[in-house]
Amino acid sequence: MSLLSMPKGFQTLFYKEILRFWKVASQTVAAPVITSLLYLLIFGHVLENRVQVYPGVGYTAFLVPGLVMMSVLQNAFANASSSLIQSKITGNLVFVLLAPLSHWELFGGYVLASVVRGLVVGAGVFIVTVLFTEVSFIAPWWIVVFAVLGSVMLGTMGLIAGIWAEKFDQLAAFQNFLIMPATFLSGVFYSIHSLPPFWQTVSHFNPFFYMIDGFRYGFFGQSDVNPLFSFVIVAGFSILLAGFAVQMLKRGYKLRH
């Protein structure tokens, strides 16, 4: 089914969510691109000649896919979660709840728009960072697969967090104590092979690690685990979370009293 043949209600919600972040693109797109660029310049400058993670790959080049994926994930999460919490707190979510939108349409509209924002910011980060280093594209389809799947997963997590949170600080706690540590400890800035054995084992329980590792494989053809295995893990988590989010929407959890 193409997007045009999808129900109009879904299309409108999707379009509204895109329009919402695009109207404040300086905050939702430009700001994360600049933040990632700063990470690249500072870490790259300090560590370029001191750390070599993969043979023949400089540290700055190694950093690019990690920063791109981190931006994709964080912004996919931010889109759905911030839209929902703002709509809940200001009360304008009522316009969506009064409409004849099914739980599938709500899920699709919020998550797909999150995917778009994640990919737009990721593309922005990539374009800016490759100005400073060269990266290869050994397996481009893995790049696309993990970028899309990662943004679906984080968009879904954003939706769940947005539904669950009743106040901004609850959402901030979700972001600061779950999303942020899971992202930073997933191998954005390092290979888990550089970690002590205990932390290597811990990292394998972090689904974010598989997203970034698989995504990086698409660039360098080298990864800590087999990309197919990463794909299965990420796809499995995404399906699990999607099922959970759809059930929340269907039951009207914290949305309909």
């Binding site: 409108t12 379009y15 004849p100």
Partner: protein, 309 residues
């Protein structure tokens, strides 16, 4: 077929019984008033009709569609103006109305959007961001949003709370037109004169239960006849007349100010004996008015528990 059929609806919020078995049938084409004091359960009932709240028991249909099991069709036939003044600060008025049309599956709805905006005096604000609008203008947009999909049933939850006379007149003119064209209108308001002027039939809620349900005319007739309002000096109302007080619980001036009394009369012939009794008691009548009973008097009596359906 009823436009809205409410059957034995119950809703409890922890220890509070918000609705205790409400049943109502609102017919197609009616202008129906839902009245009651704050906390009576009006908004809860409207939220259940709109699918924003789920009933613990009972059933609600809109144009025959169950709001829980056939929610898509039910919501497609319903337009709700929420009580809270809410808006999406990212969009202009036109964008807001286009998005709302889209949620209801409508493409190319600009002709009707323009008509709704014109009828609510919003045309010159079409491209203004929602944040920049005054409270009254935001209220108009809320009404417009409820109407973008031309719903056969329109529910307005206190649409004129805190808005100026101009908007009220504009709004009621438009809503009355829609009602004449066949739309069913359900209104909750604290402005009882509005309800009396507009509604054909009225239900009054108290503590989550329907305590009165009748045509507006029949409800007003419950307070038979008129009121004689007397402002007295040199003494209060004679004891013999106290049984006729409109609000006997407040006999020391039961009508807004001290020494002002409202007496219920069924016939003009009762006026002279009342005046004679006052004269005999030594009190002096400073001011006298003869008033027809209105919906507010009925409302107060029913809420005081004097009249029970």
């Amino acid at each position: 077929m009823a436009a809205i059929q409410i059957t034995q609806v119950e809703k409890r919020y922890k220890s509070l019984q918000a609705l205790g078995g409400v049943s109502l049938s609102i017919e197609e084409g009616e202008f129906f008033g839902l009245l009651g004091p704050n906390g009576a359960g009006k908004t809860t009932l409207i939220s259940i009709i709109a699918g924003l709240t789920r009933a613990d028991a009972g059933r609600v249909t809109v144009q025959g569609y169950d709001v829980a099991t056939d929610f898509r069709a039910a919501r497609q036939h319903l337009g709700v103006v929420p009580q809270e003044l809410v808006f999406d600060p990212f969009f202009t008025v036109r964008e807001t109305l286009r998005l709302q049309s889209g949620y209801f599956g409508l493409k190319n709805n600009d002709k009707w959007i323009d008509e709704v905006m014109a009828n609510l005096d919003l045309t010159n604000k079409a491209d203004v961001n929602m944040r920049a609008l005054s409270g009254g203008m935001k209220r108009r947009v809320l009404v417009a949003q409820a109407l973008v999909h031309k719903p056969p049933v329109i529910v307005l939850d206190e649409p004129t709370a805190g808005v100026d006379v101009e908007l009220r007149q504009t709004l009621w003119k438009f809503i009355a037109r829609l009602n004449r064209e066949g739309h069913t209108v359900v209104l909750t308001t604290h402005y009882l004169e509005e309800a009396q002027a507009l509604c054909n039939r009225i239900a009054m809620l108290k503590n989550g239960k329907v305590v009165a349900l009748d045509t507006t005319a029949a409800l007003i007739k419950r307070i038979s006849g008129s009121m004689l309002v007397l402002h007295l000096r040199n003494g209060g109302l004679p004891q013999a007349l106290r049984a006729q007080l409109l609000h006997p619980d407040a006999p020391e001036g039961d009508y807004g100010s001290p020494n002002t009394y409202a007496l219920r009369i069924n016939d003009y012939a009762e006026i002279e004996p009342i005046l004679a009794a006052v004269r005999l008691s030594g009190a002096i009548i400073e001011e006298m008015q003869l008033q027809q009973a209105d919906l507010e008097d009925v409302f107060l009596q029913i809420m005081d528990g004097e009249v029970v359906r």
